[in-house]
Assembly symmetry: C2
Homo-oligomer: 315 residues x 2
């Protein structure tokens, strides 16, 4: 507990490639923020405590400040494993399943990821469940379809605060490996920044939304269009992005919302713009939640669940 404006908790999103730490006051407002490249890939198993303490010290956090962490730090290769919570699962159950880090004087807890154990559609997430929680407590009860784009995009069905099902699409990673490592690299070069109002993005996205097998049939067309029709690098990148995002949305719509409807988009920056445009093209009405705000809100909600923040001051 602390006065407004004073740090009540440190909130950390510790992923595979980066670590972000915020000091939050009782209202969930950001008092301080740090970003680092010390993600799971660079942190050795025995260095998590050292990395975190250094970040906290440099932010001026007190030695007793509690910490809530989400992301890959809770994986088997991370700091302390926070075993997956199995869907269907309520957000309160996710918070409650956060594990304590045992060998430190601070109260440090790591939020678990989610697992869908159905052998026909196995799936996992780590980190996105906290974004989801942050957005969901603000969306209120009812049925929501949530899209969280990224390296591994997640689509989630949420009913009255319970995650009922989810589906991962490797859209961001496909864009990354295909644009850099496949024959399409000869068409795209280094022009990988895509604008949501690019005609090539809109065209290829529209085609992918209309054709369920577009990824299979259209990937090589990007290369052929370069050779035969002079497709320029920036347009080739936009075409690949539109094709992959359109295909993701078409497949997700097919699984979760055959009648179209509303979708909650949790995203930031350029990704937010691309998905907003593509989702509207697919006939969805879109409510957007900023991804950074969502993860902080989810971490703050978890801190409140454990009594680390003064609920009377909650934002």
């Amino acid at each position: 507990m602390s006065a407004a404006g004073q740090p009540a908790v440190a909130a950390a999103d510790w992923g595979t490639t980066r670590l972000r730490v915020w000091l939050l006051d009782d209202a969930g407002n950001v008092v301080a923020e740090r970003r680092s490249d010390e993600g799971l890939f660079s942190a050795q198993p025995d260095r998590f405590a050292e990395i975190l303490e250094r970040q906290l010290t440099e932010m001026g956090a007190s030695a007793a400040l509690p910490v809530i962490i989400c992301g890959m730090a809770g994986s088997r290769q991370g700091w302390v494993e926070a075993p997956y919570a199995t869907v269907p699962v309520s957000l309160a159950e996710i918070f409650g399943a956060a594990v304590s880090v045992p060998w430190t004087k601070r109260d440090i807890r790591i939020v678990p990821g989610l697992a869908q154990r159905d052998p026909a559609s196995p799936d996992v997430m780590r980190g996105e469940e906290t974004q989801l929680a942050g957005a969901a407590t603000r969306l209120g009860p009812g049925r929501h379809l949530v899209c969280m784009p990224g390296t591994h995009s997640k689509w989630v069905g949420l009913v009255d605060g319970t995650v009922t099902a989810f589906q991962t699409f490797m859209t961001g990673e496909l864009f990354s490996v295909l644009s850099a490592r496949s024959i399409l690299s000869h068409s795209i070069g280094s022009e990988t920044k895509v604008s949501a109002d690019s005609p090539a993005f809109l065209d290829w996205c529209g085609n992918a939304l209309a054709d369920p097998v577009a990824v299979e049939t259209s990937l090589f067309r990007i290369r052929a269009a370069t050779l035969l029709h002079g497709l320029q690098p920036a347009d080739a990148a936009a075409a690949l992005s539109g094709l992959l995002i359109g295909s993701e949305i078409a497949a997700a719509k097919n699984r979760f919302a055959q009648e179209g409807g509303a979708v909650v988009l949790i995203a930031s920056g350029g990704m937010q713009e691309l998905y907003q445009t593509a989702l509207r093209l697919a006939g969805f009405t879109v409510a957007t939640v900023d991804a950074d705000e969502a993860v902080r809100a989810g971490l703050a909600d978890t801190a409140r669940y454990f009594g680390m923040m003064n609920i009377e001051n909650a934002g």
Copy 2:
């Protein structure tokens, strides 16, 4: 012209990563064979003649022996550009469009690739048109659907010796980049050899044949199945292979043969077995032509077209 058993022509398949040269007699039989890694990627523009002459000398070819070449040596980045022939195009027109290499004393000709210039489905091939020609002259007239699996699989509609339409699928390249460069590499490791009778191959292929959006929805399931259900590396590789090949066949069937039917498979080795199995699973009857024999036959047919071989001895 030469006696049986004597070289009548040198036939070369000169691709991006390798060069294969055969000396063929009038009947198209192989008198000598050489393979080299001096593909387009390693041959400098001014070294094609030197590389070819060295191979021919080491095979004991006479200084006047004519040469027929197919593959990327005819691309803009190759030796001499053999501009794409545009579909629909007959096999005789393809042969006739072979370009002479001007600055040599031998008669050297390079078979052109094919282009499909329709802006809605642009596509190109180089090298496969020669395999196709080699198989097609043996298949006879009528309507044929041909599948040529590989890094970039080609499906071709052939009517009475005319290529009417074709479609490239990046199946082999997707397997390669996803197994080595994506998060799936953590599931697959170095176990990339796949057997056609692997239950995982059959399962994932069957699922992909039944579900048009399988690539989108199922790629990450391979990773999740490793984490949640202990999927082993060899099975993860088989799953990825089955998923990608099944998705290719489902999309090709949708475009070329909605009623199923017969397919001519031009392939060799392990690839032949995987596609034979998957095509039968998709309900096709399969006639198989060896890919190496097909490319040699196509090169021999081109040589005959140019009067380089004694037609009376044709095999």
